[in-house]
Symmetry: C2
Subunit: 264 residues, 2 copies
């Protein structure tokens, strides 16, 4: 399946927060053989969230995951932005409301919070775009949301990493596994010869095996080291093929008098 | 000035590499009072690089910075994608070629690389979109590129963080400083009352001071802690105003029987 991420939060754009959620999700999407096609990171701005979502929908991924902007404050406007982008109204969702009530009651009973009951701001988190299915938040307060938009599954997750991860594991991972493909990524480091010297050979191999991505990355250590890695998405007998091509590359490197440093 | 980032690399989309360049650049863009409006992260794909660039250009930022995909191998296709997006041809740039030659001669003379002279793959890095100004790479091989597209300044930087940072410092930082604005971000942590309890008060303050962003972030520690921070871009007497509003918020928190934990 094709996946896109829409990351929402001023704190990321001002550099206050390093977005680690994207990398965490990217790993998991890839691990099950799916393709993360694009990450779009925008601020807490109604019009921008709405138009960014519309652009993503036009590209027709199978899954869109958003993170951030679900909290009780005025500047958390993800749900409103999504509703605008989908041309749906926000409406009070009873299930979301009852789960939010429970969370606040629990926090009040335990003495974690001093304000009892619901307020306008707490209720705000239960106003979801029409057709939403709320996703329980077992760690924080704001529920996540699932929306089907035509053939696209849209998941709206909180930005707090622990909450995002928990919801991703509970709701999205099962779907990634259900339609699981196979992803392989293997490689090793070499030195003594540079990226540009190996490039014609890997270029030839890429023509011979168009189903593989063969990529080199320079690592600057004490000497110049280059990492070579081969990536295969849903390739038949991919494991054997990748191993075979890596062996061919090792031979080429040794013939060029390069040194193989390690094998992952 | 308004800035957008276009981050290019399959390694980021498969989750192999955490993109730390964006956060590093975001901090610096913000520090000098400029606004990072969006980060777009795509893979090494000609059509996608080209169309992502065209979408960014339509939003008319003052500065576009790309990172990644400048190396000598076939799968590094940033320059070709940018050329396609700008509807310009790639042409051999003599300055770029001579600087690449120098780097390889130096590496060969020192015994770092075993292959002497230029090859098709090394030359590839000197094919730049028409109208490019090459930016010297003092650490690696691939030069960066500056292109003026109408009123937009486009900077094409390498993805290797040390190379990117060095080029950013040399070329982009002076421009950010030259047209420097003032950015302020200050805040503190509190506990005992949650985001939702403070929300109506910060909502009021935001209406009163529309030039400020007042944002709360829950931190889950031993107890629930909330960070409040105020952000101001290019606000007259911003420092004094932010301090004044933070003091107002502290008073509100204390009145609500919350606890102030620290002051950054």
């Amino acid at each position: 399946m094709d996946v896109e991420l829409l990351i929402i939060g001023n704190e990321i754009l001002i550099g206050k927060t390093l977005d680690s959620n994207s990398n965490w999700m990217a790993k998991r999407v890839t691990r099950y053989g799916h393709r993360l096609r694009r990450i779009t990171t925008v601020g807490d701005d109604l019009e921008i969230i709405s138009s960014a979502l519309q652009e993503i929908i036009k590209r027709k991924p199978d899954i869109i995951i958003t993170s951030g902007g679900l909290g009780p404050t005025f500047d958390d406007m993800t749900l409103e932005g999504i509703a605008m982008g989908l041309n749906r109204k926000l409406e009070l969702n009873k299930h979301a409301l009852s789960s939010i009530k429970k969370v606040y009651k629990h926090a009040y009973d335990r003495g974690i919070l001093k304000l009892e009951g619901m307020t306008k701001e707490r209720e705000k988190m239960a106003y979801l775009p029409q057709g939403s299915i709320p996703l329980p938040n077992t760690i924080g307060t704001a529920p996540g949301v699932k929306i089907n938009e035509g053939d696209i599954r849209l998941y709206i997750l909180p930005g707090v990493p622990t909450e995002l991860k928990s919801m991703f594991r509970n709701v999205i991972l099962p779907i990634l596994k259900e339609r699981q493909g196979k992803f392989i990524e293997k490689g090793f480091l070499f030195s003594g010869i540079g990226e540009s010297q190996i490039a014609p050979y890997t270029g030839e191999l890429e023509k011979k095996y168009p189903q593989l991505w063969i990529k080199t990355h320079p690592h600057i250590g004490l000497s110049v080291e280059v990492e070579i890695s081969i990536t295969a998405f849903n390739v038949e007998n991919g494991e054997e093929l990748v191993d075979k091509v890596l062996d061919e590359i090792k031979e080429i490197i040794l013939n060029l008098k390069g040194e193989i440093i390690n094998r992952e």
